[in-house]
Symmetry: C2
Subunit: 428 residues, 2 copies
């Protein structure tokens, strides 16, 4: 771990830089796969699944019976845990529904917003060593609350070409039945163009590796919306009194195990606390099983322990970094909450580990990384809806605002805009 003591402000810009992604060399592959999927549809998906995933698939769609049987294939305790998480995520996201407010801006001029679900959406659930069923909950629950009715889910085939039952179980809880065993660039291309089996969608959600990320950028250029630009996951801990180095080290390691490119930063006012955290990290790291230990060790080698003696400096550095996850253990948390500008999700106090938010506190775990918290929100109900504006103007209302419209339209060189008012008010 790098220990950085009192870095001057002119070094901050360099310190907060995340490693650059090299997306350029992916472009060619992404373009090739997208073109093949556009031309050959399902056959291209089957071909690339053999090429990239080394899985020979006869069909991509997961059968209804396989989805329904998933409940019998996972432990009762895990089902109960998933149900608790589901309830909390539902509770929190339901509260994000906005009331419809009708506003009479001028007498006779009534304006309002109404929310509508995005009709067709697609989820990408990554594969890999473990089934990321929590992501199904984090994408699916707000989508269902928003009213999205056409949901497609793609996830790479696992062992034996099958999708893990945990993922299918989480999907079944949300009545998501349109599931396909296809991953990578080809899955994103399928949801972009549509194939004989997989419907094209208007917006694609979900995390993924650099191939999936590059493919989502391509989808965006082709007119399909995406949830968030992606990057490796991040955790910043602001360690202030009362701080328990063992807790902080456990949180930092929970981030480090995500991958060797995980970004981890611990900030404190006192060097002694940072040294204690570092010591705990060493101890706890050795207790982790391989291969997780090696992954976490690699992530820690890029991570930073930073001393900033002044409270305001700590605050400004957090805002400059814009962390995806921020833990605040300081008893003066309210100062930091009040002045916080840029972060994805915040965990307050010594009993709020980041992993609680990953699964079950109720907040969403799909969050802006790589400094994008400066301009993007984490996933919430807004991501699944559009807000349409409405206005209804009475004849008297138009008489009230019409003359202003006419004057402004003519000043902008748009006489027909003015005429559309005048023709209605003539003789009124």
């Amino acid at each position: 771990m790098k220990m950085i003591l009192n870095p001057p402000r002119d070094r901050w810009q360099q310190i907060i830089q995340r490693p650059q992604f090299r997306q350029d060399n992916l472009e060619e592959t992404v373009t090739e796969v997208f073109n093949a999927v556009k031309e050959k549809g399902n056959q291209a998906l089957i071909d690339y699944t053999l090429l990239f995933d080394n899985k020979k698939m006869n069909s991509l769609a997961v059968s209804r019976s396989e989805i329904e049987n998933s409940a019998n294939r996972i432990p009762e305790k895990l089902k109960k845990a998933i149900n608790l998480a589901k309830a909390n995520i539902q509770h929190f996201h339901k509260a994000q529904k906005a009331d419809k407010k009708r506003i009479e801006t001028t007498s006779g001029v009534v304006c309002w917003q109404e929310s509508r679900p995005i009709e067709k959406i697609g989820f990408y659930i990554p594969g890999g060593n473990a089934p990321l069923f929590s992501t199904v909950l984090m994408l699916g629950i707000p989508a269902i609350i928003a009213g999205c009715s056409n949901i497609v889910m793609c996830t790479p085939p696992g062992k034996n070409g099958k999708i893990p039952p945990e993922i299918l179980y989480a999907a079944s809880l949300l009545n998501i039945n349109n599931i396909f065993a296809v991953g990578g660039i080809q899955a994103i291309a399928a949801m972009t163009y549509g194939t004989e089996s997989i419907p094209g969608v208007y917006k694609i959600f979900g995390p993924g590796n650099q191939y999936v990320t590059a493919a989502k950028q391509m989808a965006l250029r082709l007119g399909v919306a995406i949830d968030l630009p992606a990057g490796p996951s991040e955790l910043m801990v602001l360690a202030g009194k009362p701080a328990y180095p063992a807790f902080i080290a456990a949180d930092l390691l929970s981030q480090a195990e995500h991958g060797p490119d995980s970004q981890i930063v611990c900030i404190a006012g006192h060097k002694s606390l940072l040294i204690a955290v570092e010591q705990e990290l060493k101890t706890q790291l050795t207790a982790l099983p391989e291969p997780i230990r090696a992954v976490a060790a690699k992530a820690l080698s890029n991570s930073m322990l930073i001393r900033l003696g002044l409270k305001q400096d700590r605050m400004d550095f957090i805002n400059a970094y814009a962390p995806e996850h921020l833990i605040i253990t300081d008893k003066n948390a309210s100062f930091y909450i009040k002045n916080l500008l840029n972060a994805g999700s915040v965990f307050i106090g010594n009993y709020t580990p980041e992993s609680a938010g990953d699964y079950a506190s109720g907040t969403n775990h799909t969050l802006p990384t790589n400094g994008y918290a400066r301009s993007y929100s984490g996933l919430n109900l807004d991501a699944f809806i559009k807000k349409i504006t409405f206005q209804k103007i009475s004849k008297q209302g138009l008489a009230n605002i019409g003359p202003a419209v006419e004057i402004m339209a003519r000043a902008e060189g748009l006489p027909a805009h003015s005429n559309a008012v005048r023709i209605r008010l003539n003789g009124f």
Copy 2:
């Protein structure tokens, strides 16, 4: 105008296609300008302003005195009109502020969202034949309500290298003082990278021609957020009884005058109404002054009058098209409002011309075109803020949800996530 009678559903996909943009041939120019601005800063801006706009600029920043003097250079009537528009837009956008709701998802687990303004934003206000000061209001008012404090505005120099006083006046009403006389690709590049004079920003807002649109796509790839993907403006009118062909024709022409690529569609249940609208269009078109008349005539040549005899077909066609602006004159507007899924902004009744929403009803005129209303909202307060999630868990709260977190984390192959809970609950 094309009259299309009862198109079968299998032709809809073709009918709703907007003309393709050719962005490919712009890429090279955009890349070149971005690289030059990154390397040479202000000097590149001055060079490209001479090359593209044929204006020799010594300085780009607009002086405070020029901004303040703008009020003396425009008619009192226009100032009053702008003030009325400002009040209505403020009224409507202020109502979009969300209350903070604290949710206890499980006993001892409290979660909430807080909104924060995007710290640094940039506005692009197009130049051209007329000063589009209304766009300053539509971008600036929600930004100020959201609390955005660092606003940069770029707009191409007009006659004599000066920015029109109407634009400066609108900006001065909102205390936007960081204004630069630079337009086109180079302006977007400047707000992306920052130069000696122009600060880099986190998000860029505002309309523009195909060069500006391509430049905003480049900014997006470089990590700067943008408001909306852009395309030519659109109006769809659903003409139902009571319908006044003269009003409808005036609305269609107000859209047609925006540019030769404006998209205009009128839908009705009866051919006779479409014929009456067409006749009115011819009459009103001849009354428009040149060069507006030629522009509108060109736009009309691409536009469509469509008869669909069934109410449900009309509804489904509107949703398939996903218009930027939708006027509904039908007395049964509530059916269409209820079933509407995709549109930017909706104008209800015979006294609600689209031009009212462009200027003064209070709704925003920055809206999704080109079918993007299927997945994007028009500009509203959300576009200027991020919603940060917070959670605070008590020791008992962690005991309540911790076991579920541990089970789920282990099932996802993330033991350190489980440890972060266990270490806090040991001995509890």
